[in-house]
């Protein structure tokens, strides 16, 4: 890969050095602010803090899988299985507690362990057998959608399980009517994932290994970094995050739908890309991903506030904005390149 990477992006070492590497994430944040101000200017009640809080309620699951996806993409891979693993995790929670009668905390622990184990397995296959990540995780996409449908092809309700009411229990920050807002526990779980990921990615040996492997796997190997551990680790993290997102979805809806989260992996990839992470790996920030998920959520909120936009318009707007983001980042990156040379 090293020679190809060099010929493809000869300018990368200058492009992502110093301050210029913050340009893409800066653009994302600027657009997020612009979207928010545009919403405030055009719609009543858009300035209510609960609008922001709601972003982290509706998109808690997406945030968690996008954070897991950030690790994988930073290492130069991709994980297409997260949407299916997430649906499977929700369904497994429902089946274990409702049908098998296992206590809910144990069921959740089993599901999380399973997600991690799946990630370890697929990461090992990718690393040791050199199966392309796209294909190896495609297996997961099909396998877990199939297994979910085999457990149940209809909705399963978890309303009777006391434990799953915990997630939507909320903490109030002031009265909503007086400009306060509330957040459920599951949002705090998502925040915890973000904070832990931030620390792991930027302040641990493993995190630096992820960037190094994404930048150039052979260089990382020659430098004596534990490439195998890093590459398998990122898929384990992604698998754990997908399972956790499934548990969060179980908390949020208290039911399991076998066809839930179809295409969630694309939303996650889109959020990561909007957040300024290069799909080829080696450059990006986990906080950028948070911004990306917020943009995604903000767009949905704007379309909901507008009210008369149909679902197919939502999709077109999403596509156009994704395009705008990518071109904007590209232009900014190019001008930064010129300034330096």
């Amino acid at each position: 890969m090293s020679t190809q990477t060099l010929t493809e992006r000869p300018s990368r070492s200058t492009l992502f050095d110093g301050l210029t590497r913050y340009v893409p994430i800066g653009a994302t944040v600027a657009l997020l602010v612009a979207l928010y101000l545009g919403g405030v200017a055009n719609y009543r009640n858009f300035d209510n803090p609960q609008v922001i809080a709601k972003l982290f309620i509706d998109n808690a699951s997406l945030l968690v899988i996008a954070v897991g996806m950030t690790f994988v993409i930073l290492s130069g891979g991709i994980d297409l299985s997260v949407g299916s693993v997430m649906a499977f995790a929700t369904m497994a929670c429902a089946w274990l507690t409702v049908e098998a009668g296992i206590s809910a905390p144990l069921a959740v622990a089993l599901v999380l362990a399973f997600g991690t184990a799946w990630g370890l397995l697929i990461g090992s296959v990718i690393h040791y057998f050199h199966v392309q990540p796209f294909i190896a995780t495609l297996v997961g996409l099909f396998l877990f959608r199939g297994l979910t449908l085999q457990i149940s092809d209809t909705d399963v309700s978890m309303r009777d399980v006391e434990f799953f009411h915990w997630g939507m229990t909320h903490v109030d920050f002031g009265e909503v009517r007086d400009g306060g807002f509330w957040l459920p526990y599951l949002s705090f779980l998502a925040f915890a994932v973000v904070i832990i990921s931030f620390v792991v990615l930027h302040y641990t040996r493993f995190g630096r290994g992820v960037y190094a492997v994404g930048g150039s796997e052979s260089s990382a190997l020659l430098m004596g970094l534990p490439v195998a551990r890093t590459k398998i680790g990122v898929y384990a993290i992604s698998g754990f995050c997908a399972a956790l997102a499934g548990v969060l979805a179980a908390f949020a809806t208290k039911s399991a739908n076998p066809l839930a989260n179809v295409g969630a992996e694309l939303d996650a990839i889109a959020a990561v890309v909007i957040g300024g992470t290069l799909l080829t790996g080696g450059a990006g920030f986990v906080l950028g991903t948070v911004a990306g998920v917020m943009v995604w959520g903000m767009l949905n909120t704007l379309i909901a506030f507008q009210g008369n936009l149909s679902s197919w318009w939502a999709r077109i707007v999403m596509g156009v904005l994704l395009l705008a983001f990518i071109l904007l980042q590209r232009v900014l990156a190019r001008s930064g390149e010129k300034r330096r040379t």
């Binding site: 890969m1 392309q132 294909i135 199939g146 297994l147 799909l279 197919w312 596509g319 990518i326």
Partner: protein, 362 residues
């Protein structure tokens, strides 16, 4: 990476090529044997009803034709180290444009109208493909991202064309012949797919185009320095891929007599990538096997029937697909083959050409 094909030619035989095709062919034969064991020889032997070929296997081929078209385009894109995620959406757009234009007209059977509708759909899908290619070649955007945009927005555009409805073409319209008709007893979709396969194979293997494609996929910058217009070739390849997806959409819509913007060609991009990979084309680019892709498509089509034939519920569809992908992906991995065969081998294995390639590719 072009070295993958040059030694093959230098040694003057299709031997490495056949070796690449061996695993997919083995899987396909195994699937067919399972089917014959369960349903008898009727499965493979075509029958002639109402002046057209019938029988289980011919039906599989007929239903696989749209996937084959999409996969052929995808093979060329992947050969240039790209990927086109938007083919499913382009499929829906092509189908939507043609069907909407036909139902908007007064006489749905006018040959001129059908021709115009088909032409318009192909032009639009070709333009969409060229747009993808331009994004990749001239704006320097990663192929996954560039085509992700249309993957997300494309079905929205198709919804916009149909106004959120599902346009239904009259059964009497000649348009439906594209999916249901037969030429000399052979179903039209098979004929179209075979013609496209032949055309692309001739274009890429009898002219320099195939070699140029592989060199662009192997190293775009080196190709440019060698005097190849790599950007033009990239745009062309995505254009062809868009056209193939549009054509596939037309056949699919003609077969159903309607265009569903939401579900038409859903997940066809994943199936197509699957078929390409089963066929032995590496996602890393630099080499491609149109015939391998064809075998991959037939494997996927046969698999779907096999599940029903052996008496499993249709929910097994996904699971079975996953298992097949897993097995094929592992079998194609030289590291896996070496690992699994280790206990059976006494002397150290002489390095086959395939592992050497893989090492280079990494």
């Amino acid at each position: 990476m072009t070295s993958a094909s040059t030694p093959a030619k230098a040694r003057g035989g299709a031997n490495p090529y056949l070796k690449r095709l061996m695993w997919p062919l083995a899987v396909l034969v195994a699937l067919i044997v399972v089917n014959i064991a369960v349903t008898g020889f009727d499965f493979i032997v075509p029958s002639v009803n109402d002046d057209r070929l019938g029988g289980a296997f011919v039906n599989i081929l007929r239903r696989s034709a749209p996937l084959l078209l999409v996969s052929l385009g995808m093979t060329l894109v992947i050969a240039t180290k790209g990927i086109d995620l938007s083919v499913g959406a382009v499929y829906a757009i092509g189908a939507a444009i043609a069907c909407q234009m036909i139902i908007d007209a007064e006489n749905q059977s006018a040959p001129g109208l059908i021709f115009a509708a088909v032409a318009l759909a192909l032009v639009v899908t070709g333009v969409i493909g060229a747009w993808n290619g331009t994004m990749v070649a001239y704006f320097g955007i990663q192929p996954i991202v560039a085509t992700l945009i249309l993957m997300i927005a494309g079905r929205g555009i198709a919804q916009l064309v149909t106004g959120g409805q599902i346009p239904k073409v009259q059964d009497s319209s000649p348009f439906t012949e594209l999916g249901r008709g037969a030429i000399l007893t052979v179903p039209v979709p098979i004929v179209i797919a075979a013609l496209v396969l032949l055309l692309l194979a001739l274009l890429t293997r009898r002219t320099a185009l195939g070699m140029l494609l592989e060199s662009v996929g192997g190293n775009p910058e080196a190709s440019r320095l060698a005097g190849i217009r790599s950007k033009g070739i990239t745009v062309l390849v995505y254009l062809v891929c868009g056209l193939c997806a549009g054509l596939a959409g037309l056949i699919g819509a003609a077969n159903l007599g309607s265009a569903d913007a939401n579900n038409g060609g859903l997940w066809i991009e994943l199936d197509a990538i699957l078929a390409v990979v089963i066929g032995g084309t590496a996602l890393l680019g630099g080499r491609f096997f149109l015939l391998g892709t064809t075998i991959g498509v037939v494997i996927i089509g046969t698999l779907e029937d096999t599940i029903i034939n052996v008496g499993l519920s249709s929910q097994w569809q996904f699971t079975a697909k996953a298992i097949v992908v897993f097995v094929v992906a592992l079998l194609q991995s030289p590291e896996f083959r070496a690992w699994i065969l280790k206990p059976f081998k006494r002397k150290p294995e002489t390095p086959a050409p395939a592992p050497a390639e893989e090492v280079l590719a990494k």
